[in-house]
């Protein structure tokens, strides 16, 4: 098991956003988390990567106890994260975006880092954009660079936090294609998304989160055709009716 979340609780200013979440992700699995805005799904992802501390429960990621304050920061070496707003470093070229952490965190020399960086850019299909700055790239290209930046670190698991929500509709496809390709290559992935098509076609399991708890956790066929819970049914009706 790469990710093991047990009874995790998290409040912001007195409002409990996560009310005892349980979630497990096995090696090689692609798990998609769906749910309405404010359901707590992004917060869940952020607690797994220690970007938010938790108020209760336990989180293990690739053997790292994220709930222990002194070891929580170690999780970053095991997890890659892709954000809704890309968060590329605007002052660095695409290649330098990818190689910065290779040099500063993995302490690689520049030639080795650039070799790995170019390989990562080629995996996301943007080898020819190595020298471009983020402002010279489309949103879809920026997000693919951000994916390359994360996978270059060879994480045990990748987290995607609404990676396509900030994109123009015509740019969503190129990003989900890269994500699907990663899943097919066996990358362990936990994906928060509103793209139901992606969930249906790529996920090994779909997790429906509502009101700060996991309501339903099942293979996509079951979630989308025979949801067990009334809350899941209502959410899917609203969402798929669009």
């Amino acid at each position: 098991m790469i990710i093991d979340v047990k009874q995790v609780r998290k409040s912001f200013a007195g409002t409990e956003v996560l009310r005892g979440v349980d979630l497990a992700v096995d090696k090689g699995e692609a798990v998609v988390v769906i749910g309405a805005s404010g359901s707590g799904k992004s917060t869940l992802l952020r607690t797994i990567n220690n970007l938010e501390s938790i108020d209760g429960g336990k989180i293990w990621v690739d053997g790292v106890p994220v709930h222990e304050p002194h070891s929580a920061h170690l999780v970053h070496r095991h997890v890659g994260m892709v954000f809704q707003q890309f968060n590329l470093f605007p002052h660095l070229t695409a290649l330098k975006n990818v190689t910065l952490a290779l040099r500063r965190v993995k302490k690689l020399r520049t030639p080795e880092a650039e070799e790995l960086g170019m390989a990562a850019l080629q995996r996301v299909g943007l080898g020819e954009k190595a020298k471009s700055y983020p402002s010279q790239l489309s949103g879809g290209q920026q997000q693919r660079i951000a994916i390359g930046r994360a996978i270059a670190m060879e994480p045990a698991v990748m987290l995607f936090d609404e990676a396509t929500s900030a994109l123009d509709p015509e740019l969503v496809g190129e990003v989900t294609r890269v994500m699907r390709q990663l899943a097919e290559e066996g990358m362990t992935m936990l994906v928060v998304t509103h793209e139901m098509g992606f969930a249906r076609e790529t996920a090994d399991r779909v997790v429906f989160v509502d009101g700060g708890v996991v309501v339903e956790d099942a293979p996509p066929e079951q979630i989308f055709t025979h949801p067990q819970h009334a809350r899941t049914q209502r959410f899917l009706q609203r969402t798929l009716a669009g």
């Binding site: 994260m81 954000f83 994360a150």
Partner: protein, 222 residues
Amino acid sequence: MNLDALWESRRLFELGFLFTLRLTVITVVTSTVLGLLVALVRISRVPVLSQLMRVYLEVFRGSPLLIQILFVYFGAAFLSTSGGLSVLTAVTIALTLYQGAYISEVFRAGFESVPPGQREAARALGMSRFAIMVDVITPQTFTVVLAPLFGQYISLVKSTALASVIGYADLVRQAQGIIDRIGSPFLVYSVVALLYFVISFPMSLGARYFETRTSRRGPVTA
């Protein structure tokens, strides 16, 4: 006209100019370093120390520089048994504290202009706080910080003129001496103003250069 007498006094103008320039160069460096440190303490929200920096800021921005210079110079003389501080040291301390307060706000605005997602993305990559500051945050503040920083340096040049009140032999002090000997205050102060301009104009050019560079690049989008 007293142009001959003025020309005869060129050595005194030169001395005053060099003293003003020296004080400017020293305090540009010291107040920038102080301002940067204060800004770093404030944005990292170190308990107690952050609040102390806030008090420092309010005190030194909220009182006249002239009083601060007198306070440091005569305060040190009063407290010390060995005669207090030299004029240059006293005026450097006062100017550094005063300008450092303004400059720290320039840096703080720069640091806070970097979207929080930048720090998060760097943390998610496993970068240390130090590496995040050096490689991610600071380079992104340059475009925001440089123009107002040079603007503050212009104000610094002009504020050095107050050093003359405790006897620092800068342009103002020398001008007073020259006027005592040859008269013609209008002419003498015109030369002094011109010499201040010689120091501050390059800074003004710097401020303008960085302003246009920022606007040409446009806002940095993440």
